[in-house]
């Protein structure tokens, strides 16, 4: 934070030497707090207040119409001992995170490496690969996906060219989640752009030196590119994992809000939505939200703690 130098550049009012404490506070602190006023209202009214309130609600039964009834740990106990839909949604979400994030990042890195070889037309390719990532969050794309992977959809038409009769991917519980994973991978554009920016930071003379020493491309990748890129990998992995945990719209649209077939696309967020706004179990939904927060926090903390063993920071 470089803003500290402001202390030496004395504001005009202070130079005049205001005597009273209040006017000094006014001169010094008031502008900052006034500029932050909208954010403060938002932070206390829409973030911190609701967080505390939601933590409280997670220990109650609350149906929105009558006052919350204290329930102690009931919600959490039920979640972990007696709620098959909770465990299903947890399994689905974990499966989604574990497969979609690494595959998406692998595609992003692979294409970025290919593009970084000084390809002609790089801006064009980069833009084309980025487009799905920009459009992908739209309901329209989820609708398209539902059609592509339907029994009579585009994918099966292509398979039919090779004489393969594909299943109805969307309504088959063995494949339905995979269609969502493919949708997520399809949007590899933005991590790819971040990888490209990172690759550009790697000094070219390192490769030249390695070439002179006779290191193969493969070896250069493992010994130079990947280690120097680990901060970017780390960053992308965190952002994409949190996004994957929060993913909602595709599963909602593709399953028509149900999470079916047989809960195979019941994302955690979708289950939370059903509990809150389908059954008005607001207390239980709040507890679900806090478990999600705990999951995200544990994952983030774990990543930061392990990062010193695999993320290369040059300082």
């Amino acid at each position: 934070m470089t803003a500290r130098s402001f202390e030496t550049g004395t504001p005009a009012g202070e130079r005049a030497g205001s005597p009273s404490l209040w006017s000094r506070i006014w001169q010094q602190d008031a502008p900052g707090y006034l500029f932050l006023l909208p954010w403060f209202i938002g932070f206390f009214g829409l973030t911190l207040g609701p967080m505390i309130s939601s933590l409280y609600l997670s220990f109650t039964h609350f149906d929105l119409l009558t006052a919350p009834r204290w329930a102690g740990l009931d919600n959490y106990v039920r979640m972990f001992t007696n709620d098959p839909k909770f465990s299903a949604s947890m399994r689905v979400t974990m499966f989604f995170v574990i497969f979609s994030v690494p595959l998406k990042l692998a595609f992003a890195l692979g294409v970025a490496l290919l593009l970084n070889r000084g390809m002609k037309g790089l801006p064009l390719y980069r833009a084309l690969f980025y487009l799905p990532s920009l459009l992908g969050a739209s309901v329209a794309i989820a609708i398209l996906w539902r059609q592509i992977f339907a029994g009579d959809g585009l994918v099966n038409k292509f398979l039919a060219l090779f004489g393969i009769i594909g299943p109805s991917w969307i309504s088959n519980p063995n494949y339905s989640l995979w269609t969502l994973i493919v949708l997520s991978i399809w949007q590899f554009g933005s991590p790819m752009i971040i990888f490209l920016a990172g690759l550009r930071q790697i000094p070219q003379d390192m490769y030249e030196a390695a070439s002179l020493d006779g290191a193969s491309k493969w070896r250069q990748f493992w010994k130079i590119t990947l280690p120097l890129l680990t901060p970017v990998v780390f960053f992308n992995a965190i952002i994409q994992t949190i996004e994957a945990f929060k993913s909602f719209t595709p599963a909602f649209i593709i399953s028509g809000g149900t999470g079916n077939p047989i809960n195979s696309t019941l994302f955690y967020t979708l289950y939370l939505y059903q509990e809150a706004f389908g059954f008005f179990r607001m207390g239980y939904a709040s507890a679900l939200a806090w478990v999600l927060l705990a999951l995200v926090a544990i994952f983030t903390a774990f990543s930061f703690l392990t990062s010193k063993y695999w993320v290369h920071y040059d300082d």
Binding site: A12, Q28, Y33, P38, S54, F129, Y130, L134, S190
Partner: protein, 294 residues
């Protein structure tokens, strides 16, 4: 961004010319193949919106046998309320969100980047922490609050938080940019007796158009695409956004009018696509420098 200076140092000088050529051709082939594979679904949907209804499920090609814009008329009036209303609603919400986000976030960012006040570090750290917070944690109390205020079934729950800088990501983005603006400029202005407000309004904002534009464009796109907010706060069809209209279309028609559905889907993507065409460089640079999620 110039792409020139990193040419082929990777393929060393000893590599024979024919091998370089071969590698280059293979790479282009792979990239072109991947582009086609990735864009095919989008092109197919575009084509489906222009082809006769009976051809949608029989053809995998991206060139309709005959062109017709009937589906656009059918889709536009496919629900009780016209899609014209949904588009108007989406535009109102998105544009007001842009105004709110740019104003409120730049005010907060200016305070964090340039003003000296007690507790700044603490507030800044708290602001950063909200970046990671899943919205589900504040969802239910916010809903209860907006319900008590009588704001359900209005646009207010979708717009007012933007005027309160609830999307901390953009504060962070702007702080980064403001810090890069030379301090001598505000110090000179201060010598001339300008207060913080004048410095913010007359110096910082005019010099920050790139970051303000990036924030405005991403706010527009994210608000336009937002499904969850409208889903819980808007229940009357006359208040629906385009995304809610599309969702209702998929449910209510029993998916009989696919042409109309695809036509409206395509239309819903047009504003985003236009941003992409016009501001592509800006979007890509925004992501490259700040690591945005999409």
């Amino acid at each position: 961004m110039t792409d020139a200076p990193m040419k082929l140092t990777v393929v060393g000088a000893e590599t024979p010319l024919w091998r370089k050529r071969a590698i280059s051709i293979l790479s282009h082939a792979a990239l072109i193949g991947a582009s086609i594979l990735m864009l095919y679904p989008l092109l197919w949907m575009l084509a489906a919106s222009f082809r006769p209804e009976n051809e949608i499920f029989t053809s995998a090609s991206i060139i309709p046998s005959e062109w017709s814009i009937d589906a656009y008329f059918r889709g536009w009036n496919g629900l009780r309320t016209s899609f014209g209303v949904f588009f108007t609603n989406s535009f109102i919400i998105s544009i007001l969100s842009v105004v709110g986000n740019v104003l409120a976030c730049s005010l907060a960012a200016f305070a964090f980047a340039r003003l000296e006040f007690r507790g700044r570090r603490l507030w800044f750290a708290l602001m950063l922490m909200t970046l990671m917070l899943p919205y589900q944690v504040t969802l239910i109390p916010q809903y209860v609050l907006f319900r008590q205020l009588g704001w359900v079934d209005t646009f207010l729950p979708l717009i007012v938080p933007k005027f309160l800088a609830a999307d901390a990501f953009f504060i962070f983005l702007m702080v980064q940019f403001f810090r890069g603006i030379p301090r001598e400029l505000d110090e000179a202005a201060m010598m001339d007796g300008a207060g913080p407000w004048r410095i913010y309004w007359k110096i910082m904002l005019p010099l920050s158009t790139p970051v303000l534009a990036t924030a405005a464009i991403f706010t527009f796109i994210w608000t336009w695409d937002d499904f969850f907010g409208p889903l819980i706060y808007l229940n009357q069809m006359r208040d629906y956004t385009v995304m809610l209209g599309l969702r209702t279309f998929t449910d209510s028609t029993g998916t009989s009018d696919y042409g109309g559905l695809f036509a409206m889907s395509v239309l819903s993507l047009v504003p985003i696509f236009l941003f992409f065409l016009v501001f592509q460089r800006m979007l890509i640079e925004g992501i490259a420098t700040t690591g945005m999620k999409r």
